[in-house]
Amino acid sequence: MARTEQQSNEKYGGRWFWRYASPAAFFPLAGRIEALCWVLAIVLSAIGLYLGFFVAPTDAQQGEVYRVIFIHVPAAWMAMVIYLAMAFWSLLGLVLGTRLSFMMSHALAPTGAIMAVISLWTGALWGRPTWGTYWVWDARLTSTLILFFLYVGYMALAASFDDKKKGDRASALIALVGAINVPIIYFSVKWWNTLHQGSSVRPGSSSMATTMLTAMLIMTFAFWAYSIAAAMHRLRTGVIEREGKAAWLRDAMKGWLR
């Protein structure tokens, strides 16, 4: 480990970015990030759920059903953030040709798709008692559904090529073109007259009670930690799949092989 680090330091002139662009250098680091994020995800969700259910008061207008927002809003945010992260890594992969960038993007997609489903599902269950309907074709809901289809399309396209490099590039294009949908989701409640309410949390101001907001933000950090941990795990699996023949990986995996 120390020796390979030193070698790659020499090779890349010690610039950390280029060093960690190599799967060999990033593999152990990703493992440490993953472990830290699992712990954070568990601790933060325990605190967030405790605050959300036992400290935050009943909402004066919505009653108890508002407690869905402690997972609805973080899931919706993560669905958008993960898509932007995918677009970022895809762009980096296309421009620099770094294979780790594409793998990073692939590792994020399933978690992003799950976040989109959770935001749609919890939104529907919240909408039924609050709006009187599970679903309406308003701009916010429709663009979020499109986000989910973009995730599915991305994953299907990445998996449909026998030549992995072609799959990388084709799916990176979907990630990039689809990124235009993210600001549309975010601003939809401003641009169109939607049934979905406007943002409760904006930079610098918020229309929520402090304990409610605190619970929601802690749950958001828990969702971040969970998403990073899951993506790092998937990334490492991807590295094992793709770099299986490389000598460094066999060295790194010595303890895992019988």
Partner: protein, 54 residues
């Protein structure tokens, strides 16, 4: 404290179906993702092992 009893907690002011339907779905999704992460890792390691053996 918000709840007078556990049954009041599960009832969620008559909105238990919607609240627990949401949290339950999240729980199922997380478990499904963790299982799929483990299975993918297992088969990747198996392939590596087979490659190593041959």
């Amino acid at each position: 404290m918000n709840w007078e009893s556990w049954s009041a907690f599960w009832d969620m002011g008559g909105r238990g179906f919607f609240v627990w339907g949401s949290y339950g779905a999240l729980l199922i999704a997380v478990i499904a993702e963790l299982v799929s992460l483990r299975q993918a890792r297992k088969s990747a390691l198996q392939a590596l092992q087979e490659d190593h053996d041959s």
